[in-house]
Amino acid sequence: MTFFARIVRGGGGAVLRNNNFRVNNTFVTSVRHYAAETSASNNLKLSFALPHQTIYKSIEVQQVNISASSGDMGILANHVPSIEQLKPGIIEITENPNSTKKYFVSGGFAVMNNNSSLDINAVEAFPLNDFSIENIRTNLAEAQRIVASNMSEEEKNIARVEIDVYEALQSAIGKSS
């Protein structure tokens, strides 16, 4: 054991500092995959697709900001691989320092791979200026009316989900104008 794993003695006790362990006379090497090992380019390769449309297909971009269920996050090249669930919110794509595009997505998933490619799948996505502030306001008022009415709890739950979407839309459009 000591031959393969160096034991460093510190104040707190022994710490293993090697990834090689000898188990039943065979080597077990734990390999840590990081994006940096496989990526040649320093740009993020973005694929952004909807069921009915492809918006980006392996296009190199600088940074993508997403609103994930676990919080807003910015993704650069060489990000650790992860899968994030998207909530209704903005996807901000910095193609280069002079060009940034914003889309509002209804929800979906972002998959960060370990070769610096990012796949975003959403059900609906539109640029912010495709939305009508009046329509959002009307829909929000209607959903709020349903929640306050004596309709079934099922209808109210649907309206509550809708309210979240309309409020996210309002704040998205408010920020951009």
Binding site: S70, S106, E124, N157
Partner: protein, 66 residues
């Protein structure tokens, strides 16, 4: 982490469907009409018995498993 939609008894598919519909309904009118066509999805089924196809029946929204 418990999601509000899950606590409300909605499935993830149902939840994304509601969100997508809300987004479509918020578009400018010309874009909205084109997008809303994507909202209409249905499922029909027919039961086959003794080599014969039965009558087509639409799957009722309220009978779908959640």
């Amino acid at each position: 982490m418990t999601f509000a939609w899950k606590a409300a008894g909605l499935s993830y598919l149902k939840y994304t469907q509601i969100c997508a519909r809300a987004v479509r309904n918020s578009l400018k009118d010309d874009l909205r009409l084109a997008a809303q066509r994507r909202d209409e999805q249905g499922l029909k089924f027919a039961k086959w018995e003794a080599g014969k196809q039965g009558e087509f029946k639409p799957v009722d929204e309220t009978q779908r498993s959640r």
